[in-house]
Symmetry: C2
Subunit: 775 residues, 2 copies
């Protein structure tokens, strides 16, 4: 855990240059616009701690699998989000010395991620080895208005001299992935041009053949006036640049404006890429930097208007939730159904592929409440389109007759992970994909989705579970052997409670879905039955499994057991672990972690969270009280679920603690891994921890329920949710809760199980004394 | 399974060229002399299916570990036996065409591994693409008399032409390992010379700095007369050769004799290597090929005299056991305490390092009975020397206070395997290392070994187990979680019966050993206690564990359970598996194997075999009858244990079936993997299956016991064992058993629990009617 960043409600601020944490800062200060994004690498050369990262959404490379010992069933390739052309680079030479902060004395350093307006700003005074002092202010953004554009304002002011400054703005496509299995480079050059004042480079990914064209133009101003300059084009393998030498006067600012356009063959025919790129740059030049920046601020203002969560009285909490929302909005806009939400967004390479179960389990609730219904639906359809691949994937593992196993990691539906304990065994992911369908329908009421696509997906998933369990003669129950649950600190366990539970639930829900389709649209049901060769006996088999599934539990303790034999472990609590031992995944050998009782991520609790209405509060409390003290939260996906359950249980201390942990995970580098990138998908979990946790929001029988619960430190908190045409702003303060309906659609809802109707564009104020806690 | 090789009691014979199986043949026809060895690659160029392989004992390379996802505790390097300079190569050009069997019509092809005399012979007629027909006879051997020498007699007879033949004998050090994690080459050139008639090349391994000098000389004869020839030296990077052009007459034989010497810095100072190499070649030239070959035959005759097993009436069985004994003798001579027995000997690269638990569990009994006592002792001392590394290794996994975990795979004591489920969890290896000490002392009576080294090793091992178990509050027993047993088709299981049992046994035996040392030599005990900081409370802790260990069992079935929950698996028998599904490890995905009930290798049965005297016969029978039908024997180490137990239980059918399976594993390619190399260490298990299986040999209370059991197909079988100064030839025929004492030391022993005394150089004949079966 590191707390070197300043607390500020609207910005992330680094005061003073924390060289040793620069890779963390590069992750945290990342920018993106859904289409492309980047780590907060410096524009100028930097030889200190850094990990270069520029990424283009949907552009991936299937890197040949690397393992120590091949196991049958492994995928041939691991699809990776690719490090792409670096468009931010500006080499700066001051009186002949290459400017590199690693070799400078640095003063007055400030780095700011301005979340309100959506830009990154860096300013500092640097003294070079040749004694020259310069003040630098570098500002840039990835436009969310014109999502193929980025812009940089890079200013240098000589402080103790007048002399020459050479700027070399460049586009560098000669990059490699840090995460490359065989140290190969993944891009080939297609074409490039470098002229005075502009340059373009088009690269193509090997194997997948994605083409990305990146272009740049620039201008220079001094004393606020655009100046003419000599510009010497440079081109070499996968690299284009321009050299500009200007004379700068002591105390006077020289500004380089650099515009970049990034367009890919996902959105343009390859032959049109250059033209599209130039068109983008024409627009950028026409508008100019300041206008682009103003438009950016305005667009972000709208985003905040839609999705902000306001917490009064607790700046750290406020900053954190905004950081989470900001990063989510930077990563995925929901406009392109081919895209999904990578676990690190545009902030790092780790974890490769873009799609994990995180999307279904954590992100969909966020988009359901804060975006148009089609965003969540696009995410569901993404999986429906990949159903054939999921069936293929299951086939590779020996399943048949239409059984579908969705991949653990994917870009295109093919499995591309290669640890057997995860690839083959972390099959609960299939359950989350089914759950997301349920969640979507529960929230939107759009039950027709079952007919459109949902029932087919559910049938494939149910078939998988029906084949994956086996009948234990010994127990006279169905068991599920050799799985890894959400808690990845157990591998190859038997009867993971969560997996058994969600599998059984899937079988029930799939049966419901098929019956629903049959009841509503018998012709479509007949078509589906014929398409997937469905047999009624399958429903009987599913029902038999549902009735006879084994669920490990300990009756004495009154808790469900994470898996068979969990109580054989030495029961130590996290609080008794030496601080030096954590995070366990960096300090302990793997076998030690596996045989310990320590939990990476809520597992039984994840199940209780998903299926909360099926358990009484005391059962949830007993399980929470048992598992929480054993959980180390070394998965980013863990604390949010704990925060929500703690809030439900009225455990303010823990709810607040877990809220801080989930929301400030990256800001405070809780797990000592933010340098690899931010934990983007878990940020949606942070949003849930406020809305479902402190707000107590649930959907039951097609209606919203709230049970607000305000931490002692907060004066108020408010969030917005859209629900079936209504748009609600829910604000809880110390004296009660107000619900403002900002739409034209009246809505009736429940607060602490009492029904209220909130008229169109009206507000209901519920005083604290009127609130009846159900707890 | 493939049966393309001929049955012959003294030779392995391939009639007709089986191109498609050439890599299998290269493994099976391998040669070695304990110091170096090689696959049966052709001398001339061959572009068909081949895997080049020349290996020098003790010369290894620590290849940087490759894994898909790094886990804490993994070793940095995987030490590999290295493919070394190819010294057999002779390029042959016939009237200008490069001779390559892949592009020839081949007739009258015979390949023979003559085990009686220790050479490899190949003869055939080949028609080249240019129409020239030649008869080739190639013979070679690795001298066991001068163990730095190899020799080749390569003869070519033109059948349908007279013309030029160009021979290019060469030494090629520009080879790479097939098993290289990052496609690196592992050798650097140190020096080379090529003169007319001779050439030398010295290479050095990267990182480890082993130097190996290889030299060659050669002569040519026609019509039995040595001829003069022009010889053109060739040298290029890591390659030296000579070109020789001779004119050959139709029907007349031209013979190239090539002598090679292979010397390494393990046995010579680097500066002396070239001189040592030349000295070897001087000797070879002085003796000449025929003398070397005669000496080889004589030396092998002696080896056979010492270690042959004769089976009359069953040529396949006879051939097979000789093949196993032959390969064992080729691999390890026991003379060099720095060496150990690689699982593939000199026949392939797979499995890397040289030392596995195979040595202790399978090989030591063979050497105890067939070699000088010092051979087995050297193998024990090898581990004692590596105790510090074993303590280090345990330390990396979080163990402390002198706990020792021996590596799964090693060259120098460091762990170098990198699958977590094996590296970290297949810890039963520690038990086998303790068991070997017990086995050695039981056989030799040399209890002083405990004081010399054994007790210290046992204490380290016991400390590991004492820390590795944990107290289960739930069971009120000690449990051992997260292990992989000998059956590697289960990973990360809890309470593997075998591991729990041997762990507990180790604790008892270590306590015994320490008490023994204390009783015999209190001063040495005090020194040991001080050296390892031993505390008496440790003995108490060990005793508590021994008394309270959990052993999974099913009382209803009356069997021990391989691990907790084994009976939850779907219980299918191997006989009901479709043939197309086998071997499972090539046909099923890994997860499917893991959750099936199928067993790779005896696991409970391995324990019953080791500790047979602690169980009654009916218990062994029930477990055998339960587990045998579930075992697929996809580990080479499996069938021998089954053969021994089946023989003990009087189950002739299965004893014979498993004997064939273990003994003909490579000859018949049972597991479809002989192309990677032979299963050398399991060959000692084959020896056990005859001596301990059919011979029923056991040691109890310092005396030999026999319980011979002859399969119906055999007329007789006989084997030799040395025991505490006596040398016995035990021959069982249909009418009884004779025991000949070929030593000057009288011995009393038991046959079917009846005591006999066999005088010095005497024989006892026990008629069948006098045999009382204890079964």
């Amino acid at each position: 855990m590191k707390q070197y960043l300043e607390i500020n409600e609207w910005s992330i601020v680094e005061e003073g240059f924390h060289r040793e944490h620069n890779k963390i800062s590069e992750s945290v200060f990342s920018l993106g616009n859904g289409r492309f994004g980047q780590r907060a690498n410096f524009e100028e050369d930097f030889t200190g701690e850094t990990m270069q990262g520029n990424y283009v959404a949907g552009v991936y490379y299937p890197d040949k699998t690397r393992v120590g010992w091949w196991k049958n069933g492994y995928p041939e390739y691991f699809a990776k989000v690719l490090n792409a052309t670096n468009w931010v680079g500006i080499k700066v030479e001051v009186e002949g010395e290459n400017f590199d902060l690693e070799h400078c004395e640095v003063k007055e350093f400030t780095r700011e991620l301005n979340m309100r307006e959506g830009y990154l700003l860096r300013s500092f005074v640097a003294k070079l080895k040749n004694g020259k002092e310069i003040k630098v202010i570098a500002q840039r953004f990835c436009s969310i208005v014109n999502d193929d554009l980025g812009a940089i304002r890079y200013s240098v002011t000589p402080l103790n001299f007048s002399g020459s400054i050479k700027f070399t703005p460049y586009l560098d496509g000669d990059i490699k992935n840090q995460d490359a299995n065989y140290d190969e480079k993944f891009w080939d050059e297609v074409s490039k041009t470098a002229d005075a004042g502009s340059a373009y480079i088009t690269l193509k990914t090997r194997k997948t053949g994605f083409e990305v064209c990146t272009g740049m133009r620039f201008s220079v101003s001094q004393n606020g006036q655009t100046i003419n300059f000599e510009s010497k084009p440079i081109a070499r393998e996968k690299f284009v640049a321009n050299e500009i030498i200007v004379q700068a006067q002591q105390g006077e600012e020289t500004v380089l404006y650099k515009y970049a356009a990034i367009v890919s063959s996902l959105n343009h025919a390859p032959a049109d890429l250059l033209a599209a790129c130039k068109k983008g740059l024409d627009l950028a030049e026409r508008k100019g930097y300041e206008t682009l920046l103003q438009e950016q601020a305005a667009a972000w203002a709208t985003k905040w208007e839609e999705s902000d969560i306001v917490i009064e009285g607790d700046a750290a909490a406020q900053q954190a939730i905004r950081f989470n929302i900001f990063q989510l909005n930077q990563t995925y806009t929901g406009e392109d159904e081919r895209l999904n939400i990578g676990p690190k967004g545009f902030t790092g390479e780790k974890y490769g592929g873009s799609t994990y179960w995180d999307t279904e389990a954590y992100c969909i609730p966020f988009y359901l409440a804060t975006a148009d219904q089609k965003v969540a639906k696009n995410l569901l359809l993404y999986r429906h389109k990949q159903l054939d691949r999921a069936i293929e994937n299951a086939g590779k593992l020996g399943f048949k007759d239409g059984a579908a196993l969705y991949p653990m990691v994917t870009m295109n539906g093919e499995e591309c992970h290669n640890e057997w304990e995860i690839t083959f065994e972390e099959i609960h992911r299939n359950g989350a994909i089914a759950y997301a369908i349920y969640d979507y329908i529960r929230y939107t009421g759009d039950e027709s989705y079952l007919t459109e696509a949902g029932a087919e997906v559910l049938a494939g998933i149910a078939r998988f579970w029906a084949q994956r369990v086996n009948w234990s003669e010994d127990r006279q129950k169905y068991v599920m052997l050799g799985v890894t649950g959400p808690n990845e600190y157990e591998n190859n366990v038997n009867n993971n409670w969560y997996t058994n539970y969600i599998a059984s639930w899937c079988l029930e829900y799939a049966a419901y879905a098929l019956n629903y389709v049959n009841g509503q649209t018998p012709d479509k049901y007949a078509a589906l039955v014929s398409k997937i060769n469905f047999k009624t006996t399958e429903l009987e088999k599913w029902a038999h499994i549902v009735e006879n599934m084994h669920y490990p539990e300990d009756k004495k303790l009154g808790v469900y057991l994470q898996q068979d034999g969990y109580l054989d472990k030495e029961q130590i609590l996290v609080k008794d672990l030496p601080a030096a031992d954590r995070p366990l995944n960096q300090k302990w050998s793997w076998d030690r972690i596996l045989r310990s009782c320590f939990i990476k991520q809520a597992d039984v609790l994840q199940g209780l969270f998903f299926f909360e209405d099926k358990f009484d509060v005391e059962t949830i409390r007993r399980n929470f009280d048992f598992y929480e003290p054993r959980t180390v939260h070394e998965s980013s996906l863990s604390p949010c679920v704990h925060a929500i359950l703690a809030a439900k249980l009225g455990d303010e201390k823990r709810a607040y603690e877990f809220y801080l942990r989930t929301s400030r995970l990256d800001l405070d580098d809780y797990n000592n891994d933010t340098e690899d990138g931010c934990h983007t998908t878990s940020m949606a979990g942070t949003w849930m921890s406020v809305v479902q946790g402190f707000g107590g929001m649930r959907v039951r029988n097609g209606q919203l329920h709230f049970a607000p619960f305000i931490p002692g430190k907060w004066n108020s908190f408010s969030f917005k949710v859209g629900f079936r045409g209504a748009l609600l702003k829910v604000k809880t303060h110390r004296n009660g809760t107000s619900i403002q309906n900002q739409s034209n659609k009246p809505i009736s809802l429940f607060v602490y199980e009492q029904e209220y109707t909130v008229g169109a564009n009206s507000e209901v104020e519920i005083k604290k004394e009127d609130l009846v806690s159900s707890k």
